[in-house]
């Protein structure tokens, strides 16, 4: 019984780590430009496909494809931001929603065209398969790796934002764009870089998540709600809020599917509405 609970917590944490990895970039960009981006999942999907393509066509090992998944998505994000999204920063939220929904539709169709409709697999190396016994509990090796990677990235991201010059500029821009611009910070550039970083992390999450979330052309739509939830419940513009939100969502989703499988995604959606109404400005929301 207890090992059951620990197993669920563990799976939930691994799942939550992925949600956080994909969602954190969205949190930063939403906090920075107040830009509602429903297309964030498309960049996670792109990372997943980069990894699958390199693995299948070039025979690269899975772990080796991960940096490319990050870079590929970051590059796509940068291009999309410069060409398209930056035109919408001053637009209404309705326009942003519509535009990014359109982007999602087109990217789903594009993925379908290039990679087909089927579920993709990642070629997991042997040493990541199976389980390992930690303190008397069997834990999936791959999920351990996931949690470790995301923990390391979170620390790195936190240090980047709190210790570096770039991080200080980002924080200044999140706080007050006009004041930051007044201090001579190139807000446009900062945002492009943040967008690229965020989409890159999403791409990494998409590749790492093939094993857990799956990968097919419907991915951006299927998980859109989850990524948005991480941000909206966690509060845009922060790291800690989305982290907590992602873990709550991950654990509840896994527990719900384990204990009441007949309820399906129902639990998570109800939880979402309750959380949204209970914390209208997010768990870590600085903007009350």
């Amino acid at each position: 019984m207890t090992s059951n609970i620990i197993g669920i917590l563990f799976d939930g944490l691994a799942y939550g780590s992925l949600l956080f990895l994909v969602g954190v970039g969205l949190s930063i960009t939403m906090g920075l430009m107040n830009f509602i981006n429903l297309a964030h999942g498309a960049f996670a999907m792109a990372g997943g496909y980069v990894s699958v393509y390199l693995g299948q066509k070039l025979g690269m090992s899975f772990l080796l494809t991960l940096p490319f998944a990050f870079l590929g998505s970051a590059l796509l994000g940068l291009v999309a931001e410069r060409l398209l999204f930056q035109r919408l920063y001053k637009a209404t939220h309705l326009d942003q929603v519509l535009f990014t929904v359109g982007f999602v539709f087109s990217s789903i169709a594009a993925a379908h065209y290039f990679f087909g409709a089927s579920q993709q697999m990642s070629a997991m190396p042997d040493f990541l398969q199976g389980q390992t016994r930690v303190a008397g509990v069997d834990l999936g090796k791959y999920r351990l790796l996931l949690i470790a990677v995301v923990a390391a990235l979170t620390v790195a991201l936190h240090l980047t934002l709190s210790k570096t010059r770039f991080g200080a500029q980002v924080r200044a821009a999140v706080d007050n764009q006009d004041a930051a611009a007044g201090l001579g910070i190139n807000v446009g550039l900062i945002f492009s870089l943040c967008f690229a970083l965020g989409t890159g992390l999403a791409g990494l999450g998409g590749a790492l998540g093939i094993e857990v979330l799956g990968l097919d052309p419907g991915f951006p739509l299927k998980y859109m709600v989850y990524f948005l939830l991480v941000v909206v419940v966690g509060g845009a513009g922060t790291i800690r809020g989305p982290l907590i939100a992602a873990m709550i969502l991950g654990i509840f989703d896994v527990a719900g599917k384990y204990y009441v499988p007949e309820a399906g995604a129902f639990i998570i959606y109800v939880l979402m509405i309750v959380l949204l109404l209970a914390f209208p400005s997010g768990l870590g929301g600085k903007r009350a």
Binding site: L84, V97, L98, V104, V225, I273
Partner: protein, 353 residues
Amino acid sequence: MTIVSGLPHSSRPLASRSGSSRMNHRSVAVDRLASPRPRLFEAVVWLLPAVAYFVFPDNLALGVSIMTYAVAVLALDLVLGYAGIVSLGHAAFFGIGAYAAGLLAANGWREPLTGLLLAGAASLMIGFFASFLVVRGKDLTRLMVTLGIGLVVYELANRLSSITGGMDGLSGFEVSPIFGVFAFDLYGKTAWWYVYGVSLVVFIFLRFVVSSPFGLSLRAIREGVNRMPALGASVNSRLRIAFTISAGVAGIAGGLLAQTTQFVGIDSLSVPRAAEFLVMLVLGGTGRLYGALAGTAIFMIAHDYLADIDPVYWEFWMGLLLMAVVLFARGGIVGALFNLVPSLKARFGRAAQ
């Protein structure tokens, strides 16, 4: 005449300058107020479907679905185009109406008009409860709540498959003749006139709503929600009413779908369906009712042609179209037309004088 603000008449800055230009300014302003009175072009617009009925007798089914969806998109226009609430969950109310009408017929209540009203009422009630959740948040939270409602309703329909038929959908029900006389035929002629009549009635109803003080207050909320409390208005109750009416109308659209196709698929309350409603509305233009009609017609006709070729291509072009409309044609198709007409009017008006 009452002295409104208590200022003595003699001190009015412009009152005595020119009596005729004064009346002119006043009547111009009054003419710009929304009115439910039909204009000539509207008669033409509403004759178009009837023309299509006779010119394209083989495409009646397409006509029926265009008009059905147009009712749902009109409902969305009320909350989005007028009140400014972006709803990603409106398919939920469409689907609730569809299931309600389908289940009524499947359980023996085959009279179509009362069935349709009951379908609308079911949706209206659920919309009423949902509206309390929707208006609580702001902006993104609100968007997510509408999305959440859509997802919850979808999951519910999926789980309650013993009632709804789950993934297989609800079928095998029949609807009695309208007024006990006009039976639904294989060619869809009866269905066509039925949906035409209902959509016209719904349109006229909504036209009254948006031309009323209530309609003006919705537009004011969209334009400047922060000012409303300073006028003594409680924004949330106004938005709740709009959302509830809209849910009811969407339910009627769903009821039409169920009655005319005698089938309700679970995709009728899916989020992609809700997104399609959004696309149709934005394509036609928000906040002017006719945008909803034009957008739906063009979307459905394009879908009919392009999706036959390849559904995946269709999705791609739809996405591209949506992005293009946002970037380049914010008023939608009807917005562009309305921008053209005043310039034409100005030219011809001057020539006539």
